[in-house]
């Protein structure tokens, strides 16, 4: 099947302006601006069943329809912060199929009446930003960005903005704060960005992959898109596959593809390294709950969509599938994830600031061999105590691997503690 998002894998040099244009590029945007009303664009996206690819899976068209039309100007922001450990899909899109992403961003801007859009890139994406800047300039030159587009009174500018090393800036309100030139700390919600966003103005924020779907949906129709995937999760998804597999990488597959296909399929993961068995899967990067596999076929044959993965006690999130084989010690895994969250906690709320700090101290003790069973119990207890009490989801994320790790792989902890 031809790619919808990673189309550069089918079409060489798709990042080049002419190639992209020759392959139907910008026709969806032009068509939208010249022939459709903004809310008609939103309706198509609504009908396609597209859900946000940043992790939460919120219906995209619905989000766009929440934009507050009593307060102007409006902004659209692309979340290109991509910092979840195990996630590297947006980077490939922006490096290799940047114009499709930018076109999607432009269509979204038109749909909600924004005349300025920002791409917030994680600070490390220095080279990616350079690519986008070049592409934006090309689009401006060719009349796809700027004033009075296609002779209408619609105008649009797109700007890139580099972050500077902070996972939390992927959280949409922290991202907005950062874009406003402040410390990237989440805001209290509500109000949500569609009513109070960038500079306090109505703002739509979507993930890069989400936007990249949009030109194809507009070009081929909502029904075309809906036909792919499952009833719960329409369309295709890029799965970032990493960990102990033979062929890690991004794979674009329809929702509903099984874990087995992704991990073992010859064109995809091509199996576990050294032919070991899968012990656990983290489907949403470091923020994941651990899915127990231990070679269980039933688990491996589970179709990957938002609803079904939940039945395994985990969220699909951004579909950054990290594969852990039977050589991996879960006690080590959570030590890694907790270190990550201790480092990335923004420090705004007590629960996460203190909780991640103490979880790190305790896992260090356990992992270092000086922990006791009491420490394991304390760790589990601290993690549980944090749940539901943090200001944003990062704090919650930091506990997922901890609680499911200890509860689902107790032997890895009993082994590690002093008797």
């Amino acid at each position: 099947m031809a790619h919808v998002l990673l189309r550069h894998r089918d079409i060489p040099d798709l990042h080049k302006f002419d190639v992209y244009k020759k392959n139907g590029g910008f026709s969806a945007f032009k068509n939208a601006v010249t022939k459709m009303k903004p809310n008609e664009v939103t309706d198509v996206v609504k009908n396609s069943g597209l859900r946000g690819r940043g992790g939460a899976g919120f219906p995209t068209g619905m989000k766009w329809s929440f934009i507050d039309n009593k307060n102007w100007p409006h902004y659209v922001v692309a979340n290109a912060d991509e910092s979840e450990p195990g996630t590297f899909k947006d980077r490939e899109i922006m490096e290799s199929n940047p114009l499709q992403f930018l076109e999607g961003l432009a269509i979204a801007s038109y749909a909600v009446g924004a005349t300025a859009a920002y791409v917030y890139l994680r600070g490390e994406f220095w080279e990616v930003a350079a690519i986008l800047d070049e592409k934006i300039a090309e689009m401006e030159k060719a009349g796809y960005l700027g004033d009075n587009l296609f002779g209408t009174d619609y105008s649009l500018k797109i700007f890139t903005h580099l972050g500077a090393g902070a996972y939390i800036c992927g959280e949409e309100t922290a991202l907005l704060e950062s874009l406003e030139g402040k410390r990237g700390q989440p805001r209290v919600r509500p109000p949500f960005p569609p009513s109070y966003g960038l500079y306090g103005k109505p703002t739509i924020i979507n993930n890069v992959e989400t936007f990249t779907n949009v030109p194809m949906i507009l070009a081929n129709g909502a029904d075309w898109y809906k036909k792919m995937g499952t009833a719960d999760s329409a369309g295709v998804k890029i799965f970032s596959l990493s960990g102990r597999v033979r062929r890690p990488g991004n794979y674009e597959l329809p929702f509903g593809t099984t874990f087995r296909e992704l991990i073992y399929g010859e064109k995809y993961g091509a199996g576990v390294q050294d032919s070991r068995t899968v012990k656990a899967i983290m489907p949403a990067g470091a923020s994941s709950s651990l899915i127990v596999v231990n070679g269980d076929d039933k688990v491996l044959d589970t179709p990957m969509d938002y609803a079904t993965v939940r039945t395994l006690g985990a969220d699909l999130g951004s579909a950054s599938v990290i594969v852990l084989d039977d050589t991996v010690d879960i006690n080590w895994v959570i030590n890694k994830t907790v270190h990550f969250f201790r480092h990335e906690s923004c420090g705004k709320c007590t629960t996460c600031r203190e909780g991640t700090h103490w979880m790190r101290n305790i896992t260090d003790r356990i992992h270092g061999g000086s922990g006791t069973q009491g420490d394991v119990d304390l760790l589990l207890n601290v993690a549980k105590q944090m749940q539901g009490k943090c200001l944003c989801a990062l704090g919650e994320f930091s506990t997922m691997a901890v609680t499911t790790g200890i509860e689902r792989f107790p032997q890895d902890f009993t082994k590690a503690v002093k008797k």
């Binding site: 910092s83 590297f88 490390e124 080279e127 902070a166 410390r183 990493s242 470091a286």
Partner: protein, 168 residues
């Protein structure tokens, strides 16, 4: 050094990205600009940025402190930032880091004697399928180096050394 003097064109471009009443947004790009030459933001640049954006020096410092890519102290000319986060670690990042330390004769956080490279550990860089990997943060911005091993890394260091002549 005055940013305003040396980079007036860049500053203008940066400020043009944001509504004039929200010029504070420019603080992050300006800080990237400010540490381009010396690898860290010095006091004079902090003051200049604060003034330019009508915010206080404390606010600028507070932003430098929050984000890991900004530095307020001098280090090696290049910061070699190795990702040792979970996905990379599952593909040998920790061992790579250990060997690299051995080869360079420094510990994580230290700088080579010639002042060329400071070795640092960082969290996920969105390159998990190409571990071991690191980025270099230096005068020419940030560059990714993926699917690395120690030999390739030592070669890179040689190139960096010669690229801009001997380091002071």
């Amino acid at each position: 050094m005055s940013l305003e003097k040396n980079y007036s064109k860049e500053i203008k471009q940066i400020l043009a990205k944001y509504p004039s009443e929200n010029k504070r947004s420019a603080v992050m790009p300006l800080l990237h600009l400010a540490q381009r030459e010396e690898g860290y933001v010095n006091k004079a640049a902090m003051q200049e940025i604060a003034k330019m954006l009508d915010i206080t020096e404390t606010e600028v410092a507070s932003i430098i402190g929050f984000y890991t890519l900004y530095h307020d102290k001098k280090a090696g000319k290049y910061r070699m930032q190795v990702c040792t986060d979970l996905p990379c670690a599952l593909r040998g990042a920790d061992e790579f880091m250990q060997k690299l330390c051995g080869n360079l004769g420094i510990k994580v956080g230290e700088t080579t004697e010639d002042g060329l490279v400071t070795l640092e550990e960082v969290t996920c860089l969105a390159a998990c399928d190409r571990a071991p990997m690191f980025q270099t943060q230096g005068p020419d911005g940030i560059k990714y180096h993926e699917n690395m091993n120690v030999d390739k890394t030592m070669e890179l260091i040689q190139t960096l050394k010669h690229a801009r002549g001997e380091v002071k």
